[in-house]
Each structure stands twice: as structure tokens, then as C-alpha cells.
Symmetry: C3
Subunit: 355 residues, 3 copies
């Protein structure tokens, strides 16, 4: 019997199956420093312990996407080692903030299965819940992936496609306990623009571009203990579909989010991932640009100090975002420069009328 | 109204203007590890908590240049986003040591303005003070940059060129509180050569060479949250002046300082930056060498255990430092291999006559 | 007198000579994060503080190889700066676990000297002991290197070749104080295969491959403060034996060990390095694969919960490990794809009959 993990194939999944993923991970100040070095993120809430304390937290939390990547990475050996494609995300909610010293573990449940008509592959829908050492939810999200079958003739039981929300409702967004933006200093945060200043439909060109190197995306992906082979092995990928190592989609999300600081500097906390698609592959040498659109302005129940913005974050490769490239004229396909279409919700301070 | 920061242009600066820079930054053990990984620095005072404690400190402080880079990085979005060139440094003094957990923030004051005769650009002189969460000065320095004008016809008020010292006087050098080199172990420090052994005029070839990779300088520059575009975007820089990404000058200073360990292993603490010029651009693939010249030996008021050396640190690209390449024969221009001419002051233990 | 370290040449070593190596190093959470980012290691014992606590430790210890690299790095400026080749390791024992905050220092003793017949070089045998700030042994090992002579005619006194054990005996393996695998969770560890499931002679193809980048191996090697010139200087190495920078052999050991997780997920603790040879050089761009052979199953005196496995770890470049490439048919030479032949001993939980 082989002792190596060859991952699950489509016919190995069962509806309702619960998977306790391996190798929990204690996050640290080292991860924080690497996150900054890899993405250049500058949100003051994550960058400065003093700033976070002024907002009522005990310390600066990790970037929400760092927590997401750790939680996601745990699922790869069980869920997507035999994946052909990572199709989408939905119903993602961020829970308690993650601090250096917390240990994260992930448990997933199979909530949907749909074989493809060619019987070579099928789509697996998984709800994954990342929790800290106290069992508090850190991030809870659904993703679906197209997974190979080991045996095309294998029968698949209980096919269901789950009903997924278009977006997370304002009432379901978690605000960190004790968060008080009365002490939020927009000068130190680097942007004067608060929730009140954004309008639904508004588009923001984040201007800056960032070129990606092989060493960077591989270090990032290993940091998250994501074991998907396509990111690491030039010896096989050189003979593969693209002739090169594919960059982990989450690396693109983090880079685009970091670029979005320039225009959304007060979008200090991710609250939800409503949806997301990796539209085109990205490779080392590509330069990433990003733009955002305000999809919706959300009031938060019981709070006048804080609002939420639902945003579309679009990442482009090797094309500046000035013209907001998105879909082809007929709206059917994405522009070939688009690599990420990410729908998420952030918390942002509102203007204080009486200071 | 655009919500992205396009930076200040020359005519936006006013003499005496104070800028509270955004995104304070808590430094950590993660930054220390990355500093070691990126530069290979080996000064025992920063490398070993036990060594630092034996010298009277509570823990190993961060490398002084790491603190400098963080403080400098904060100024970029406000001061040099539209810079054509970083012209020089002067009057730099290091204050209290920085420890993991400290939060650094920077405030700058415009102390000089001089429009160039072509009216397309002008030189801005800025004094920047980095302080920790207790408001204690960490590093205080002047730099001047050539900045583009938005509008060549714009009037510029109050032109002044500040009077800057040639070097920081011995009396103005800060010695960390509690520092006691009685417990300084030169064997563990890796060099038997103390202050007494160096002579003014002495030159040291630091022998080793270090090749720079794109991923390294970009990770470093992002770690310092330095947002200057020229370091990151091959898509635009490929069409630019050099056809490639320019390496952040501070990266070169740190690499050269790390190389200087071999010959200056007891130069354990930076005390001043007297001056500095980035003479030629550096690119990924270049191999850096360095040599030092002792410019001056300084006694420290009231201390017989400790002295200071004023040093010239010269970094070269793709040429070993054996012949001490510096300026052309007529002394008018730098040798084409020289990339950095850095004038700084270090603290170094003196020989104890009675052990 | 030159103030730079030109390292020891063969005739500078004396039998019995003790070398207190410079620049002790405090390890941190930053090193842990970088280790994960550079190697992608996933052993739960090192990855999760909660997992380590469930096994009776106060926190997650650093990866044993990280400790080894730090201890090894200290020896380079004194032992192998003028080395032609790193010939082998033996008699390596791991002592107390290393935790973030510990300060490591290394002392070496010359235990053997043998001049080569050409009189240009000689082999130096060194026993190096790394210890923490309490003087507790962390790792204690022998390595031998071929070192250049400064002067071929120089006489060499006291030649001896030490008698080295073929492997470390079970009775000499250290089990961390307080270690209790009753709380060891194989689901969280990521492998159901415990000591009982492995058989002497069994071979495991670790399946995955990892391509190496220049920035990665240089960052790793600098992190360990290893100053061997061949890893860093393309300007000179481009004219050298291989035309490129040589990757530090320890980087290959760590990568191969990380790959071995897939098949040896419960090999949670290194106990011994019995032997090791870097058989062929590795360069950036090479893709590393690995396979293991169980050489011996060892019972540990007084313990029924824990066993040891003596393993051969073979790393290959640019060839998958499926066919277990090792030596040429006549057994005299290594297959050209083999880069590492590493003989080490791990601790692994045994199956609990009464849960």
C-alpha cells in the first residue's frame, strides 16, 4: 500500500462528508512580515499595533486574506489535489480577527456534487470553516472545483447543486468585538475618503502595477502550505498545458487587494467574500493592475460609525486599469487581460458629524 | 474626484510644511528574520539577544538600517512619488534603538525648495523624523529629491536651500541608554579589530560579492512599504529610461553594510548618516561589492570604552573592490562601477587596557 | 594587516583545536515563517503550537533542520571558507528542541586531519556542537571538508582520520523531555501511517517535485548566516567551475525532507544524522524530487509509544523518483540525477493498542 497521499478523486466524495483537514498552523509575526514583503500591503489596521489598539483591538490582526489563505491551504490535499480548475467562491464570511499566536485549523463539508457529462470530471462544492484554537470561526466559505474522476465509469451517488447566495447580507457581516472607530485616524490610515464618500457604481483605477516573480508566488503558496503541484514544478509544468508554473489564485487576490489600498485605504477589514472567479491564468513575469467598482453601499445594523461596501475587485495582467477592462462588448466573455473577478465586502468608517 | 494618491508635485510643497505620514508600522521578529534573509547581515549585536543583553540592552535591537528603511518608506507616498531622482542624504542621526514590537511613524518638514532653471522640476529638501510609540526619536535625517512639477508655469514661493552640516559632530551622536561594552565579546562578534586598530585614511576591501535578484529587492522594498513605482513594474519600466526595474537605493545601502561586516565586524551600531549619494542605478543580476575608508576617528564625550568611526562606504557593481574604484582620475566623476557613496558614522568598542 | 577574514587553510588547523564560532543567533517566529515559505514543510509538530502542546511541549519547536542550518552556518567562516568540497556528515545527534527566542552558538573541535597526496588540499574533520543560551546541546555532529592549502609545501602535523560510527545507536537518540505522544492526532498530522506500518527495506516515492529559484536558495543561505561565497556571487561563479551559483547542500536536505512529508507525515522529529553526501551539485532552475528507504526500525529503550526509523533520503534533480534512481548498475557510482544521499533517524509514534 502506498503511503503517499494521491488526493481524492471525484467519485471519492460523498454528500455531507466531513473532512477534518491536516496540519493545523500557528500563525505568527513572521507570517505578517512575509505578507508585507510579498504583497506590500499598507492597511494601517494590520500594519500598526498602535493603530489597531486605538480602534479597540488588543493588537494588529493579520490581514484577513492571510487567514483565508491558511484556511484554504489546509483544504488542498483533500479537496483539490486532482482539480482541473478552481471554479468559484461564495458565501464567505470572516469571523473573529486572527492574531499572531493563533492556531488555525479547517474542517470542510461536501455540500454539492455534479458529474460532468463527459464523465471524466465532476464539480465538488465544499463549505470550509476555519477556526482558531478556541473554536471561534475565522472564515467560513464555499468553493467549488472541477475534480478528475479516477475511473470514468464509477457511479456517483447523490448529486446536488447547492443553492448559494448572490452575496452575504449586511446582517450576516461580523464586526470584531470591541471595534470602535472613534479612534480611527484617517491621516495615519493614508486616505481621507470614508464610507460616505463612495457611491454605488463608482469605479476606481488603482493605478499601480506589480510584476510577479517565481520565487515570490512559490514562497507565498508554500507559506500557506498549499500543496497544489501546478504552482511548484517546472519540470512537469514545462510539459503541461501552459508550459509554466501557474500562480495560485489567492496570490492574485492578495496582490490586487494590496494594490487597491491606493483608492480604498480605509477599507480596513474584509467582512465577506460574495463570489470570485479566476478568469485567466497568471504567470511569473506578468504585471498585475487592478480596479474596483462599488457594487453596493450597506448600512450595518445598529451602527452609525461604520458602514460596509460591496466591491468588485478586478485584476488585470499586463494592461493598466485606466479603461476598466472587464468583459467583451457583448458581455459574454471576459476581456483577455482580466485574471480575477472578485466580489467582496469591506468595513469602512463613516464620517463623524460631531467629532 | 479621484480617490487615488498621485503624490505631491514640486509646486505642492511649502517651506515649513509639516507632513504626518500615513501607515505607521509595527516592526517584529519577522522583519528581523527577513532582514537577515535578504542581506545576510551578521553583526552580533543585532543577531543575538544574549549578546545584546551582555551589552546592557533588554534585547537585540533591529538593524539600524531596517529602522531607517521603515521610516524612509513612510515618506515616499508624500515626498517622492513624483521624484526624478533621490539626490542625497545629510544630518542623519540615529536615536533610541528599535525593538521588535515597536511601532514607527514618520513626520517630515519641508526645509528647502529650489526650482530648476528648466521649470520642469525642483529640488525639495525634507527633514524626516521617525519616532516610536513613546515618541522617542529613532532616526532623524534630511534628504533632498528632484520632483516633477505638475505645471511648469506654476509659481513657487519661498525658495531656500538649507545649510546642511558636512557631518554629524561627535557630541551629537546618541549612545543607547544602558549600553555597556564591558561585556562585548569580540570572539563572538567575529572580529578582533576594535576602534584602536583603525586609522584615518585606512581602506578596507570587503572582498565578498552578492548578486541581486528581482524577487529579493522587491520583497525588501515592499517590506519597508516603499511605494515608489520604478521598483515594481516591469510592464512600464520595460518602456522606461533603463528598460528595467530600478533597485531601491536603500537596498544597496543595506547590502553594502552587510558586506562590510567582513572587515568591520565590531562596527555594531550606526550613529549617523553624514551624507550619501546613489551614483549609478543598480538592477537585478548585478553583483555588488563594497569597500570602506576610515574618514575620521572620533572620541565620544565622556566615554573611554567606546569610540566612533566616520566611514565612507562605497558599493560597486560587477567589479571587485580590490583596487578601491571611486572617482575618475580628474576627480570630477565617479567610476562607472560605483553605485553608492555613503558617509556614515558607527560606534565601535575600544580596547580595554585593564581587562 | 588586512582586517577581513580570509578563512583557515588546511595547514592552519591543529588536531584538538577548539573554535568558538562567531555571531550567535537568536531564532524567532520569523525564521519559522521563512522556513515554511522556503521549504513548504508541513509537519504538524512544528507547524502548530496546539499540536506540540498536545504532545507535552511548551510550544512548537523549530524544524530540526532549521536548528542544524543555524549551527552549521556559524562554522563556515572558520571551517569551510576555503573548502573545495563538503565531503560528508556523521555521528549527528539532535538534543533539546529549539524554540523561538533561543540563542544558538556553535563550538567546533578539529578531530581529524589528512593531507591529500597532491599536497594542494587536505581533509579536515570537525565535530561541531550547537547549544542554546542555557548551554544545552541542540545538535552535535561531525562533518569533513576538503580544504585548500595556502602553501603546498607547508608541513602538516598530527594527521589522524577519526573513527566514525556507521549510524547513531538507538540508546543515543534523545527524546525531548516531556514528550508524550498519547495526544498525537494522526488525522491532524496528515498521515495514518505510524511506526508499526513501516518495514525495513520499504521504499517510498515522495511523488512531488519542487523547482528552485536563485532568490530562494540565497535567502535561505543568508538566513542561516552561511557565508560560503559560491552560493551568492554570479560575477565570479559565472567564470567558475559550473558557470553558476551552487546551491547550499543544506537547502537540498531541507527541500527533500519537506517533500518527504508525503509518505512520512508522522516522522515528526529528527533524532540523528547518521551520514550524508552531496553527490552532485544543484542549481537554480533544477526541480527536486525525493524518495526514501527504510534502512532500519529501531525500538527506543523504555518506550512503547514511540519508535525510530533509520531512513535513507535520496534527492534527485529533474527526474521523478518513481524508479528509485540511486546508483549505477555496478553500484560504484551514483546515478547522475542523484544530488543527495542522506542517512538519518526520525522519531515516529507507534500504534496504541489500547486507546
Amino acid at each position: 500500500m502506498t503511503k503517499t497521499n494521491s488526493g481524492n478523486f471525484f467519485e471519492d466524495f460523498r454528500l455531507g462528508q466531513e473532512i477534518r483537514h491536516a496540519t493545523p498552523r500557528t500563525v505568527s509575526e513572521g507570517d505578517v512580515a512575509l505578507y508585507t514583503a510579498l504583497y506590500g500591503s499598507r492597511f494601517a489596521f494590520n500594519s500598526s499595533a498602535e493603530f489597531a489598539r486605538a480602534c479597540g483591538l488588543a493588537a494588529a490582526p493579520l490581514d484577513d486574506l492571510a487567514a483565508f489563505h491558511v484556511v484554504f491551504g489546509k483544504t488542498v490535499p483533500d479537496v483539490s489535489l486532482n482539480a482541473v480548475a478552481n471554479l468559484g467562491y461564495a458565501a464567505g464570511r470572516f469571523g473573529v480577527p486572527v492574531f499572531a499566536g493563533d492556531t488555525l485549523a479547517t474542517i470542510s463539508t461536501v455540500i454539492g456534487l455534479k458529474e460532468n457529462s463527459n464523465r471524466q470530471t465532476g464539480v465538488v462544492y465544499v463549505r470550509s470553516v476555519g477556526a482558531n484554537q478556541r473554536g471561534e470561526m475565522v472564515v467560513d466559505y464555499v468553493r467549488w472545483v472541477m475534480v478528475r474522476k479516477r475511473d470514468a465509469t464509477a457511479a456517483v451517488a447523490g448529486e446536488t447543486v447547492p443553492d448559494l447566495p448572490g452575496s452575504v447580507a449586511a446582517a450576516d457581516l461580523a464586526v470584531p468585538a470591541g471595534l470602535d472607530v472613534a479612534g480611527y485616524d484617517t491621516v495615519l490610515a493614508g486616505s481621507p475618503h470614508v464610507w460616505d464618500d463612495y457611491a454605488a457604481g463608482e469605479r476606481i483605477d488603482h493605478v499601480d502595477g506589480m510584476t510577479i516573480e517565481e520565487a515570490e508566488h512559490m514562497m507565498a503558496t508554500r507559506l500557506w502550505q498549499n500543496t497544489a503541484k501546478v504552482h511548484f514544478n517546472q519540470h512537469t509544468e514545462g510539459q503541461g498545458r501552459f508550459g509554466r508554473r501557474l500562480i495560485y489564485g489567492g496570490h492574485i487576490i492578495s496582490l490586487a487587494r494590496a494594490l487597491s489600498f491606493n483608492g480604498l485605504g480605509n477599507a480596513f477589514k474584509l467582512a465577506a467574500i460574495n463570489g470570485g472567479r479566476h478568469v485567466n491564468p497568471t504567470f511569473a513575469g506578468d504585471t498585475l493592475y487592478a480596479w474596483s467598482e462599488v457594487l453596493e453601499k450597506l448600512e450595518l445594523p445598529g451602527r452609525t460609525d461604520l458602514g460596509a461596501l460591496r466591491l468588485r475587485l478586478v485584476a488585470l495582467k499586463n494592461r493598466p486599469a485606466g479603461g476598466f477592462p472587464f468583459k467583451t462588448e457583448d458581455g459574454k466573455e471576459y476581456d483577455s487581460a482580466v485574471v480575477l473577478d472578485f466580489d467582496y465586502t469591506v468595513l469602512m468608517p463613516r464620517r463623524r458629524l460631531i467629532p
